[in-house]
Amino acid sequence: MQETISFTPQLTASPIAEMLWLVPAVPIVAAGIAALLKQPRRKLAATLAIGSMSFSLLFSLFAFAHVLAGWTHGLAIRETVNITWFQVGNSQVELGWVLDPLSAVMLVMVTFVGLLIFIYSTRYMEHDENYTRFFCFLSLFAGAMLGVVIANSLLLFFMCWELVGLTSYLLIGFWYYKPSAASAAKKAFLTTRVGDVFFLLGMVWLFSQTGTLLFYNNGAGSLESNALLLLLSQHAALGLTAAGAIGLLIFAGAAGKSGQFPLHVWLPDAMEGPTPVSALIHAATMVAAGVYLIARVYPLMQAGALAGGTTTPLIVVTWVGAFTAVFAALIAVAQNDIKRILAYSTVSQLGYMMAGLGMGGVAVGMFHLITHAFFKALLFMGAGSVIHGCHDEQDIRRMGGLKSDMPITFLTYGIGMLALSGFPILSGFWSKDGILEAAQHWSVAKTPFYMLVFGALLTAFYMTRQVAYVFLGHWRGHGTAHESPNVMTVPLAILAFFAMALGLLGTPAWPWFHAFLEGRSTRFEWHILVEPGLLGLMLTSTAVVLAGIFLGLKIYGDRSPKPEAPDVLEKFAPMPWRWLRDRLYVDEFYALTVIAFYTWWARVADWLDRKVWGGAVASVASVFRGWAHLNRFLDANVVDGSFDKGCDEISSSGGLLALLQTGRVQTYLRILALAIVVLTAILIWSSRA
């Protein structure tokens, strides 16, 4: 294929890289200001958020242009700015940010999609009285995400990562008065935490091994050859190298954030948040963060791989990704909530990205991430517009026939759906093809390839089903649907355009994107398209997609006007349908195992606290009480007044032993004075001796 002369690396930081910190800083500052605003200052809050975001977008574009210029001049730009945060003993903790093709691309994507979503939400949220709070959270979230993107130190990465987690919690639970939303927020927070614990472990391990958390630091970074060699020399359990183990731990964190199989449960529930939030979190940013993390630490993941070979972490990544892709796609088939379907499709697409990373390398996964970001944002916002138009109806069985009512939404949504299901020459097609191709050539096993193909079929199917439910057939809801205002449709249109066009950056014929990320030069080579292998693959995937769409239309094309009518497949195969509808009982499984364990453990702890410790304390107290009683008895029997007083003192001092907290100032004073006496005595004696 292309000749692979690697570019000369370029290390010194240019002014634009020096100022890169502004990109996350500005939204965060905007959030800080917005946090101080009073509720009625809606306009100002929105202006702040959008203004800051557009600034970031502008700046990111500059940075991107800078990197691009470098690339055209044959330079692999990787400019890092590192600062020592603090010193621990003789090892110092450093923070820093990096500007390289990866971060540049990601920056542009996040800021662009984010900006569109901001604009969109100005209208979508207009009736919410917590408008200002919403925008405060939004820009804080965006800032944190941008921080994740530019981070050049695993520590900074982790901080921003956690900040993202927090803000996602705040945003998902934005309508905290809805118990479902509140619990969903909690669920998201805790589930991601599970991953983060492993991530933290990996980070600490990495630090203990290499003594630095910087990714790139002119050869001293933890992702650069010396550190990697060091890590490879260390051996952990199970025949893993330290590098492998750390890679796995970090992947656990990534899995938590981007909802890979065991930890995916939070993502569908997160749909309780406002739709723009879903778009932002589940399309562009948060879930992408996990994938981005893997892409960022790819050298670590890949460490020790022979040429063309692969490593344990990558294999794990691949399998988990592939499994998630199919698994989530299956569930998505049987969902009825428009946003839930999208959520599960997101999960499965994330699976695709992971698999792509595992098998094809950074570029493949990242490319799918970017394209997916666009069309998934488009889909979510389209769904939002549908919900908006149907008076906050989310059940697709109560929609239908919106084709005529909201044409723009239908058009854009259709494009998004086609892109997602990988219809030829739309962006999704190319990115997914990249992954499939990589899977085809994967040396370890062929199974992932078939799984992914099956996933593609399912994707096409359930998306068609959804579209058929929502836009085709006749109106089954109440009231009448109406098209959304321009503020919401224009972003849709823009995204739709990118959903179509973006793929052209990464066609096998002209893999500009891959070249850009990996620092190679590239040029048009039409003949690649007609190479038998690739052509065959493309044809198969096209056939699969068409089959999926055809099936969908065949089954759901003419939906009966009754919303309550059972689903066609349900009639066909009730039992598995119910399984799928109940999301394969993962939640229930957790409820039975993990949560049950915790409740049990809590009960045990409570019991310990009550019986054992409480008993001990009670017994001690009773002993003292007995002592006090004894004193009282003595007291009663001694008649002499002054001696009586003395006994009174003894008993009260006995009581003082029992409960030192009399609350009487003078008691304390007395103890103090006694202490003085004793101390002075000791002092004098010691001085005499």
Partner: protein, 103 residues
């Protein structure tokens, strides 16, 4: 001229008198008075040691005394303010009656 010991004895006496007052009186204000007396006794000690010390020109003891006077003023202000507030709250300044956090 009087020896240092006598000053120290007077200071000790005043200190214990103040302590006795703080320990035996019911009225919170009188407890405060006792504490003031104790502080003053301490000041007397400081001054005496400054006067009889090897380097009076260094002024250390005197400074200490002056600062402690200033601090004592602050302490008195806050203490009495508290007492007044307590009296407003609990309608008493009797320390024996004041042994609960809630009024």
């Amino acid at each position: 001229m009087t020896p240092l010991a006598s000053y120290l004895l007077v200071a000790a006496l005043l200190f214990s008198i103040g302590l006795a007052g703080a320990l035996t009186r019911r009225n919170a204000i009188l407890v405060l008075i006792g504490i003031e007396l104790m502080l003053n006794a301490a000041n007397l000690n400081l001054i005496a040691f400054w006067r009889f010390g090897p380097h009076p020109e260094a002024l250390t003891g005197m400074m200490f005394a002056i600062f402690s006077i200033a601090v004592a003023a602050a302490e008195a202000a806050v203490g009495l303010g508290l007492v007044i507030q307590i009296h407003r709250h609990a309608k008493t300044t009797d320390l024996d009656a004041m042994n609960r956090m809630k009024g």
